[in-house]
Subunit: 284 residues, 4 copies
């Protein structure tokens, strides 16, 4: 499938009259053919995603900032732009459970994710064969509690070295330090195996089983320095019954985790997610 | 809850550069505060819904056409505008099954539907008590196969008399003539008790039961002159199993029908639905 | 629809060989035609539901205990039997929000619930007209914080007077005392407007909105003396997005609450629910 | 996880009093510890699944038929028994799309499917690398329209040679002949990429897109000699909107197909599915 080369602009700013007119006049003035545009107001806040074809656009990506800055300043915008030609570089962190990793790699392989994956990082060696099958470098990076800071320093060096844009925690069983997280703010996607805020923290399936819930869930969210409290990108649930033993919950949950995480990753890659406060807008 | 007085503009036209800029400049020029805007491209077609606060807007609704027509002509638009101050007038047609009617009336009563219901029309008398409880006039309009044209003439007269904008068929068991339908094109919402295109026509639950499906569905669509073939507004399904007898399908289906129809009615009332070809865009 | 007259036996006991053989021989020996049988093991615990046609059964319901007691004693059973001829008597408690009440009454009216409703009890007068429309006595029973015990005494007297078997809290906004609850253990069904254990307690929709969840839920459970911690009977969720304001959550939640509560009530009426520990088995 | 060695008996026969008593007495008499039992009546037909621990059971699997036959004859039963010690042998047929194959192999690898997979058969070579990664023999078996009978003969020989018990068509794009199908009646599981009976036959996603449905589905069913008309084992759907292009339907559909097929395969493996008429009972 031939994909158009497009640019996507994400904007957050105070809501004011003339905003949409200002942006669309600017784009029209530079001969953009708008493909998608979506916006959201939350109280006094305005959020927008706008994607256009670069074919006839008369500004190069490198000069965009120069031309757009006056408008951005006028409306007090926080903004970023992404170019479909510059693929994002994604690292995957994994521990022993490899179902999410396998799923992500298969989706990448079949063209569902438009990104590069230069690095898989595991604190256990279990995922190495599947990484090798897909031809992606696997780095074993064990983390011991007493040497966590050292381990994270080495991880950060690896991420820099590989020019990583964002990180996916594919059932990675280590808690990242606040320092680490702050370096990739809104760029670390985690999958938690419960319907947050229910059962945050350890062993959510065990606790769901104990409580006797009739649905189990999974939640993909950006990691912040408070465990399982970051902005939620996507959630879903599946029905269980008294017939399901704990092992059945874990098995059904695997399917949920894969799907919920893969949606969050795709939306992140497609620049559909805007964080504001502790929430997300997901432009569809 | 105090609601703002807003205007909603729906536009369909060939996709061209400058469209969004043209519309947003026009609105900004007349001091509109845009609340929601959403658009969709399907090939060469452009569809848009835009809603703004009327508080500071400097054109009255009666003069809007005059001011907007030049832009509409320039871009070859089909368009319509709705004003939240002018409530739509909805008629409900019903036969014997009253679950959808009861549901619609309750939602209207609780403020979920922002419309007037000046008329309920039944070809059986069963629904009269519930209509009376809600203080809405009920007209008994029996339809015999041989006098269908006469019956429809009387119905059309009633609709005109009550200034009806659109019609909801709440499990109304008569097929409307093509002539009748053409007078309310894209303004008659029907609920069909299957997941269309599966089981179109008569007795869908019986046929679903025979076929041994594992989910049953319901479909809300605009009525056209081909039975069960009109543009789909909304669909949903519910799980069944071998334990469910035909009566259980019918009972579970009732809940589906109510919910699916009520969503379609609400979206129609909120001017969220645009028909193109035999499909709909539902702006959310 | 003609319904068969049936008996339903519910059994909980330690799991032992010969249990099923013992029960089925007993029933066969008395000429029962078994219609449904379902069982569940959880560790050392055995739970069973068995329903049979009473037509050829050669023991009257009044003598059943006498005949069955030896088997029950042998296997150390807790058991109860219900006869479809003896309709359960259900009381509904309601406050201001009447959507669940309206839904329950409509279902009762259309034959979905096979029970009597001799009593609706409200701590506000709002629900009286709809109760009257359905011909069911409405008792206004205001509850003031300082006179709660008195109010509950009067309620309990009313329940006794009307021979109430079980109580449905249809968005009843008062917390019942432990003393009250203990008199109707496993016989008070409540609907909580969240996906428990998330957002237990007050204002769950507000808190769901604050947290930015992508699904909202509802939970029907038996009331115990710990708020929102009783055995869960049924749960369901619905998708929301950043476009949904708090009012939209509340509106979408109403549909969920109605459906989840109605399932729990139907299953309770059909003797499908067995409580063990703080969980339920729902035989389907 | 240590799994108990169990036997599962599946019974279909005319409904008669004493059936359950007869079977449970037999099992109790031979010291069986029943783990699960489930039954279903559909009109005059009785269907049952019963699973017991073989630890104390005093009949060997090889003598079971001899001991059970008198009861089976008395009640005119069709029956079969499966022993968890004897793993089923599953063949997978695949064409170019490999998402279902990859999913099945991963589930097998992670212990979700308790079976052997001695054979993957493709009419295109694309799936060979993933088969090799999992250490499973891949046979390339191209099928040309004019030599279909020859091709099927070779396939049947391969299936016999590998002692195949049942076949999974994992998006296998060839129609099997009635002759082939009759040799594996109720033992060929296919995944069709629509919500049957909607869009049976070719290109269901294209037709769903054309029709403007709001949900797409997938259906797993046993293959019969009428295309897409066999007994349905499982179905599920996912929501789409006007924003989804045909490619999005195909991508969302892949996730559905994987999950629906994997459920059907697991239930078949666990001897949970009984076919009667053109329907299935799936014991849960």
């Amino acid at each position: 499938m031939h994909r158009k080369n497009t640019a996507t602009l994400l904007v957050t700013c105070p809501d004011r009259k003339g905003l949409v007119a200002g942006i669309s006049e600017f784009l029209y003035g530079h001969n953009a053919n708008i493909l998608h545009a979506d916006q959201h107001q939350d109280g006094v806040l305005f959020l927008m995603r706008i994607e256009w074809d670069l074919e006839d656009f008369d500004i190069g990506m490198s000069e965009f900032r120069h031309h757009f800055e006056p408008i951005a300043r006028k409306f007090d915008m926080q903004w970023r732009i992404a170019d479909s030609d510059s693929k994002k570089r994604m690292a995957i962190f994994v521990s022993r459970y490899d179902h999410c990793l396998v799923d992500l790699l298969y989706r990448h392989n079949s063209g569902e994710f438009d990104c590069d994956i230069p690095l898989i990082l595991g604190n256990h060696p279990d995922a190495e064969p599947i990484a090798r099958f897909h031809g992606i470098p696997f780095h074993l990076a064990p983390v011991s509690p007493e040497k966590k800071i050292d381990a994270e320093s080495r991880q950060l060096a690896l991420l820099r070295e590989h020019g990583i844009d964002f990180i996916v925690l594919a059932r990675y069983m280590q808690v990242l330090s606040g320092d680490f997280v702050s370096k990739y703010a809104d760029r670390i996607v985690n999958i938690h195996h419960s319907f947050l805020p229910a059962f945050h923290g350890a062993k959510p399936y065990h606790r769901a089983f104990e409580r006797g819930v009739k649905l189990i869930g999974a939640t993909a969210h950006y990691v912040t320095d408070i465990l399982d409290e970051g902005p939620i990108i996507e959630q879903d649930v599946i029905r269980i019954s008294h017939r399901d033993a704990l092992e059945d919950l874990i098995q059904k949950g695997r399917d949920l985790e894969k799907i919920v995480l893969s949606r969050a990753v795709r939306w992140h890659l497609e620049n559909r997610v805007l964080v504001y406060g502790n929430k997300t807008v997901v432009f569809d």
